[in-house]
């Protein structure tokens, strides 16, 4: 590895602008003539709209226009859609209700957009929004998914009888029932995976600009995938054809999944710009973000796992109710199905698995992928069950897991996935050692002497990343392919631009992608620019989520670099009168192997563009494009061990040690990978200890709609983390990368809850394990 190549801890190129305040986020954009928007939102969880009176608002100072749902419908703007078709067990397609960008006759959750006000200033827009009079007839609301399935529950959409969107199954139910019936031991649990609000620090924002002279739209938006936004807004929402719509996602302040989706606001801002003739900017305040960003998780699950007399798992049956909120968000159907039940085999060799998932409408914000997306839910189910099984069987949690690990690869699970490689014991052993697992009982005793209850818990996770092989996801219902594109442009003086369809919103692509090019061509990363986030610059791309930018996005760059190198070698061979096969690229030079003949990289690039002396028939220039479609998912895996101390008087949990041992395959920049693990683990600990989204079950009001009410992890809630990596290179892509973006959030919640339940001696504990809940559980517990 060179000092800037693959494997080097290179400080990030993009940091300079962020640490000096020169980053450019959507809210920082100013367009001449730009005006400001505020949305009128439903204060009710469920209501009929009897009428909307906008006249008073229209007369307010600075107001340019007030626009409502009937107008957007009249202009032919389409409903929002879910882009992944899931079929129920009976073969029927999922039951998708209509989601108008502005509600027309009914609102279904608090925050549902009803009208947009465009005014000279943000303050004036907000004042006027309060003056829009909407005549609502309130309806009963339901917020919890199990309640929404009960007879007599309020009905949200006429398309979905009983609020049931689909009743889906994966695996062999009969074989699983047979295996469980013959099991020597069975473990049963009921598990709630708490609803979370992603809370990227930059609130969502959109700036729509219709240019009348060119009959062309530009949308600056907080998106993880601007090309998908353009595709969907063009093909399904009828905003504008793709050639008339440019989508720019500039610096984006975190996403964690919540900025994958196309929301009503960017559609409405673009449409409103044409209606009003001015550029329209909207920026969410934090409470709007809480109310309307897609939430994550929210599963109710019953699980049953069977073991033989030798403690090998014989079967696993899972029954899950998934709350999808009031409308189906863009990938909401895939998250609790193909990203969830397909991971129910975990790291274990399980002969029979059956997963049943019922997806349900409720009067809450739409629910979709949030960091991990389905895989944290699967891991939580499995790893809570494994820890519980070990306690019930009276065996070591570590050794019960080890006994059941998949040990040979490739391994076909009963739930679609084919694990290509891994070494689960290596991560387990690394974590056990780093955590001094063997010495724990001594520490428990020592803590007892100080009046503290100490507990330890582990979690062995696997995830499917590198999303995803297009044909495979197409056969499962995806509306898009999940390849990635890259273009490598060598300029005439040898500097390089890499255009990628991946999108960085904190991941550091401007550095890691440049490291790859530096490794291949031997040029410094300062001569390489990574271009992303603009549909006018990058032709097409699928964006960043599902830990796919390294495994898929960088593989596309590798393919484009292969083509650039091949052409460069042809030119070099011609210039040096050598055989093409003898040319090597090293340290920024093209050399004839075994001789002292060289052509510097910049000179080669210049030769390609002057075209004075190229091989016969060769086109001038040095620029290549590639699309890379993965052949399989990748399978990052690892072991996390959490150690806690609980104050029995207050129920407060302190995380005294957190160990993460991960196998991400090959690593481009260890510093950045460590940062991804830190952040993921913090979000997982947040889920386990702090973050609970609460709707009032009667009124449907979101009670936790600000940072005063929803507990975000803060610096003093967390320890410093002890992390390491083990490496089995991924055989499925040219760089051997598995991906690291989501692991921390997937592996950590069960480790934390397993540690707390170990400390307090009861399994009766739901996330977030607040001091009040831990204290109450402790009072009702009898030690096992």
């Amino acid at each position: 590895m060179g000092i800037e190549g693959i494997g080097a801890r290179v400080a990030r190129k993009e940091d300079k602008r962020f640490i000096t305040g020169a980053g450019r986020y959507v809210d920082d954009m100013v367009v001449p003539g730009m005006k400001h928007a505020a949305f009128v939102r439903s204060p009710h969880a469920h209501a009929q709209i009897k009428g909307i009176d906008v006249e008073a608002a229209r007369a307010m100072p600075g107001v340019i226009d007030v626009l409502v749902g009937k107008q957007i419908k009249a202009d032919g703007i389409g409903n929002l859609i879910c882009g992944w078709m899931v079929h129920s067990k009976d073969g029927s397609p999922m039951k998708m209700g209509a989601w108008s960008p502005l509600a027309v006759d009914r609102v279904r959750y608090v925050g549902d957009a009803v009208a947009i006000v465009v005014a000279e200033t943000k303050g004036q827009a907000r004042d006027a929004a309060e003056a829009v009079e909407v005549d609502y007839a309130e309806l009963d609301a339901v917020t919890e998914a199990p309640a929404a399935l009960e007879g007599g529950a309020p009905q949200l959409h006429p398309e979905a009888e009983g609020n049931l969107i689909f009743d889906w199954g994966l695996g062999d139910e009969a074989a699983t029932d047979t295996a469980l019936a013959s099991a020597a031991h069975t473990v049963e649990l009921e598990i709630v995976n708490n609803r979370l609000v992603p809370n990227a620090m930059e609130p969502r924002a959109a700036l729509g600009h219709y240019n009348k002279a060119e009959d062309h739209y530009t949308c600056w938006t907080t998106s993880q995938n601007p090309h998908v936004a353009r595709l969907v807004m063009s093909a399904f929402y009828n905003v504008a054809p793709e050639n008339k719509l440019r989508v720019i996602a500039p610096d984006v302040g975190g996403g964690f999944g919540s900025k994958i989706y196309i929301y009503p606001e960017e559609i409405v801002c673009l449409w409103a710009s044409k209606k009003t003739g001015v550029p329209v900017k909207w920026v969410a305040d934090r409470t709007e973000s809480f109310l309307t960003d897609a939430h994550g998780r929210d599963h109710h699950t019953k699980v049953k796992m069977g073991f033989d007399a030798d403690h090998r798992i014989v079967g696993l049956k899972v029954d899950t109710i998934a709350n999808l909120g009031a409308y189906m968000s863009l990938f909401s159907s895939a998250t609790p199905t193909y990203l969830y039940a397909t991971l129910l085999s975990g790291q274990y060799d399980i002969p029979a698995i059956y997963g049943n998932v019922r997806a349900v409408y409720t009067n809450t914000a739409p629910v979709d992928a949030y960091r991990g997306a389905g895989r944290p839910e699967a891991t939580y189910v499995l790893e809570r069950t494994m820890e519980t099984a070990a306690r019930q069987l009276g065996v070591s949690p570590a050794e019960l897991r080890r006994k059941n690990f998949v040990k040979s690869f490739p391994h076909q699970t009963p739930v679609i996935m084919n694990y290509d490689t891994g070494d689960f014991a290596a991560s387990l052993d690394a974590a056990l050692k780093e955590a001094d697992y063997a010495g724990f009982e001594k520490r428990r005793e020592e803590a007892k002497g100080r009046g503290k209850l100490r507990g330890i818990g582990m979690s062995c996770y696997i995830e499917a990343c590198g999303i995803a092989p297009s044909a495979a996801v197409g056969s499962l219902g995806a509306g898009v392919g999940l390849w990635e594109s890259a273009e490598v442009r060598v300029n005439a003086v040898g500097t390089i631009e890499v255009l990628t369809g991946s999108h960085s919103h904190g991941q550091g692509h401007e550095t890691t992608f440049a490291q790859l090019v530096s490794q291949r061509l031997g040029v410094g990363i300062d001569t390489i620019n990574i271009v992303h986030g603009d549909t006018d610059k990058v032709q097409m791309g699928m964006g960043t989520y599902g830990s796919r930018s390294g495994a898929v996005g960088m593989s596309a760059i590798v393919k484009a670099l292969d083509k650039v190198e091949a052409k460069a070698k042809k030119i070099a061979a011609h210039l040096m009168e050598a055989d093409e096969g003898d040319i090597v690229i090293e340290n920024g030079e093209l050399k004839v192997a075994g001789t002292d003949k060289t052509v510097p990289w910049f000179q080669l690039a210049l030769a390609a563009y002057t075209a004075h002396n190229l091989p016969q028939g060769m086109e001038p220039g040095l620029k290549e494009t590639a699309f890379y479609d993965p052949t399989n998912f990748t399978f990052p895996a690892g072991c996390y061990i959490c150690e806690v101390e609980i104050d029995p008087d207050t129920g407060r949990t302190e995380i005294v040690q957190f160990v993460a041992a991960d196998d991400f395959g090959n690593i481009i920049n260890p510093m950045i990978v460590e940062g991804q693990v830190h952040g993921g683990v913090a979000q997982g600990i947040g889920q386990a200890l702090l973050e609970g989204t609460r709707y009032d079950e009667t009124t449907g009001q979101l009670i936790t709609a600000s940072f005063m009410d929803y507990t975000m992890p803060r610096a003093d809630d967390l320890p410093s983390f002890r992390i390491s990596t083990q490496t089995t290179p991924c055989p499925g892509n040219p760089l051997g990368i598995k991906g690291c973006g989501e692991a921390g959030a997937i592996g950590s919640p069960p480790a934390v809850i397993n540690a707390i339940t170990d400390a307090i001696g009861t399994n009766e504990l739901t996330m977030p394990a607040t001091p009040q809940k831990v204290w109450a559980a402790l009072r009702s517990a009898t030690r096992h």
């Binding site: 400080a11 940091d15 300079k16 305040g21 990227a200 620090m201 930059e202 940062g675 913090a682 967390l718």
Partner: protein, 163 residues
């Protein structure tokens, strides 16, 4: 509407603003200093921290008119005579940022933290004193490292690599 006059990053500025204009709005919208960010509406997140007469404040919790007559330093003015302030350099060197949205507020808070603790900082103090700044990306691990390293560099004990 009210007249405001203050010194921002060493430059005297005057303006006429709606009475309800927050300092953060004045900085961002009137002066174009967009490095100061707005991440919440309840003065919880700290993305808007600037220095007012040398002390860290949340610029979302004060009106522009209240800041009239004061000296304000924003992230853009933190290193007037250098490429980077030692705290900025420490955040880069120790990967104390990912998406960058909370970063200006973190750095402004960290510089003030060093001022308030002339005896030096330790991890516990840093974590405690970051109570008013939220980051969703880093898990704070590398922010804590950055603040400690930046504090050392500011005290002249160690050199932090300039970017």
């Amino acid at each position: 509407m009210s007249d405001v006059s203050m010194v921002v990053n060493g430059r005297k500025v005057t303006g006429n603003v709606e009475d309800r204009t927050l300092l953060v709005q004045y900085l961002r919208e009137n002066l174009g200093l967009t490095g100061t960010h707005v991440g919440c509406d309840t003065s919880q997140c700290g993305a808007c921290v600037v220095h007012l007469d040398g002390k860290a404040i949340k610029s979302c919790s004060i009106l522009a008119v209240q800041a009239s007559g004061s000296e304000v330093t924003t992230i853009e003015g933190l290193a007037p005579d250098a490429d980077l302030h030692p705290m900025q350099a420490a955040f880069k060197e120790h990967h104390g940022l990912q998406c960058g949205f909370c970063t200006p507020g973190m750095i402004m808070t960290a510089v003030d933290m060093v001022r308030r603790h002339p005896g030096g900082l330790d991890e516990k103090t840093v974590r405690n004193d970051l109570e008013g700044n939220i980051c969703r990306c880093t898990g704070y691990h590398n922010i804590v490292k950055s603040v400690l390293a930046g504090a050392e560099a500011m005290s002249g004990k160690t050199e932090t690599k300039a970017a």
